[in-house]
Symmetry: C2
Subunit: 103 residues, 2 copies
Amino acid sequence: MRDGEIVLGPGKAMLLEFIRETGSIAAAGRKMGMSYKRAWQLVETMNRVFREPLVESSRGGADHGGARLTKAGETALSHYSSLMRVSSDVGADDLDAIARMLA
Amino acid sequence: MRDGEIVLGPGKAMLLEFIRETGSIAAAGRKMGMSYKRAWQLVETMNRVFREPLVESSRGGADHGGARLTKAGETALSHYSSLMRVSSDVGADDLDAIARMLA
């Protein structure tokens, strides 16, 4: 991982969601305007820092280039989504208060 | 503001806290390893994007270079701190779950 990079943030979570949706790391990266290389790097990083890989991919074979989330990938993504949801719910009043103070 | 810069994030909030603590924009910036110029820029940005300035400063005079938070500054900082506190409380279980999945 790059220095200071976070284990699972908005970019990686979105990449996981798009991999689930498209069944392809390349296609998921494209949806985010990300190079194929960068998308692969992010997946490799996640697979390394988590005890079990979050993404399973097959290069070649019938579904060549296919990728899908593992059970660990689904679990990690679901905790991340839950974290975002509850944080924004609970912080809504404070966020609104700050927004109302803006020029 | 720079493109994509957020109105009030961890950096600006910490700067506000240090300004309150030190009574000086320069000293607050120094505590964050920030140039005098950058600290002033951040303060100017905050004072511009909020309807009322968050920081009041006097160049020259008896307390030359002194700075303090305005009432709006105290209010914004307090909403920001509250937001961080409740978000991390409520997200603790999901964060722990993700942390336990790491290698």
